[in-house]
């Protein structure tokens, strides 16, 4: 998606450790006009899927999920993160390893909100190692619901997550694909939409 790529080049900052900082418009400051255009792009890409819910994980995916859900005229929902695993029968749960924080955390969603009738579009701001995304897929499968597809704003194509997700047969639509951040230079691979 050219508009997103141009915005990343204009306002993204590359930090040491292959970190791309886009907090001015994507994950703290929220350019909702851009999100509307992203939602429109995913809506075209996934228009043949009978999507019933748009799902993400707190916190930075929530605004994107809300505007995508609005475009599909369905509810959004988000998995919550917990420091400790606290098994209860009323929630679907999974665990996610955070490379940033170097620890395991738990994610969960109420069983009332995600059921076997649901056909779910998963969206998130970033896809890198894919740990959070695999946790979300795990929640959908725990509910015996189905994954309609996965919409990612920015994938780091040089990390293992995108290949693993595609190899597992999921329909992944990344709007910007970063091939490299070496020497602080942002190089894109061809995007999915």
């Amino acid at each position: 998606m050219k508009q997103l790529e141009e915005r990343i080049l204009a306002d993204g900052r590359v930090l040491p450790g292959n970190i791309l900082l886009v907090d001015s418009f994507l994950n703290q400051g929220l350019d909702v006009e851009l999100f509307d255009a992203m939602a429109e792009t995913w809506h075209r890409y996934f228009e043949d899927e009978p999507i019933s819910k748009v799902m993400t994980i707190e916190a930075s995916g929530i605004a994107i999920a809300a505007l995508v859900a609005r475009k599909f005229s369905v509810p959004a929902l988000f998995a919550k993160k917990y420091d400790t695993v606290n098994l209860t029968s009323d929630r679907h749960q999974s665990s996610v390893y955070s490379y940033t924080k170097r620890k395991e955390y738990s994610i969960a969603i109420s069983k009332r909100l995600l059921t076997e009738d649901d056909h779910v579009l998963i969206v998130d701001d970033f896809l890198a190692n894919g740990c959070a995304l695999r946790g979300l897929i795990d929640l959908v499968e725990s509910a015996q619901a189905s994954v309609a597809g996965i919409g990612i704003a920015i994938e780091k194509s040089f990390q293992e997550g995108p290949d693993l997700i595609r190899a597992a047969g999921f329909d992944l639509c990344s709007l910007a694909r970063i091939a490299s951040l070496e020497n602080s230079e942002i190089i894109f691979a061809p995007a999915d939409a």
Copy 2:
């Protein structure tokens, strides 16, 4: 706002300790069609204010803020929560006491995202004791920006937050005002819009 009150009566659940659970549509499941109607109501209420940003705190205010920002055609932004206070010169910071978690946490927002030129509409899902809201107001004042007004989905009018905020002179527009949850019965006070 009659539509929100009716939804609370239909889908809200009262738990011991004056807790109103609305996670099926307001703060985990997200009824974005309802949020659009809420945004429209606040847009009418605050239409004379030259609002430049819509601000909230992670996580449950984010979807509301995104749809309100869309209605005002301005960016949204959200304060992040931190367990530890980590003073850095590039962020506005404040501290908030959580009665639920019985501990103090830190909230912060990048100085690049909130400046003295901003006229900010603060929104959140709940207002009870007002601690989180006072933290957000503190961030706006740290930036020497101004508070245009405050939009709250559900205020617990029987707790001290709403009175304190109104007494301090802020223009607070709560779409549903809960007068009492005693005996698991939801009693509304007249809403602001």
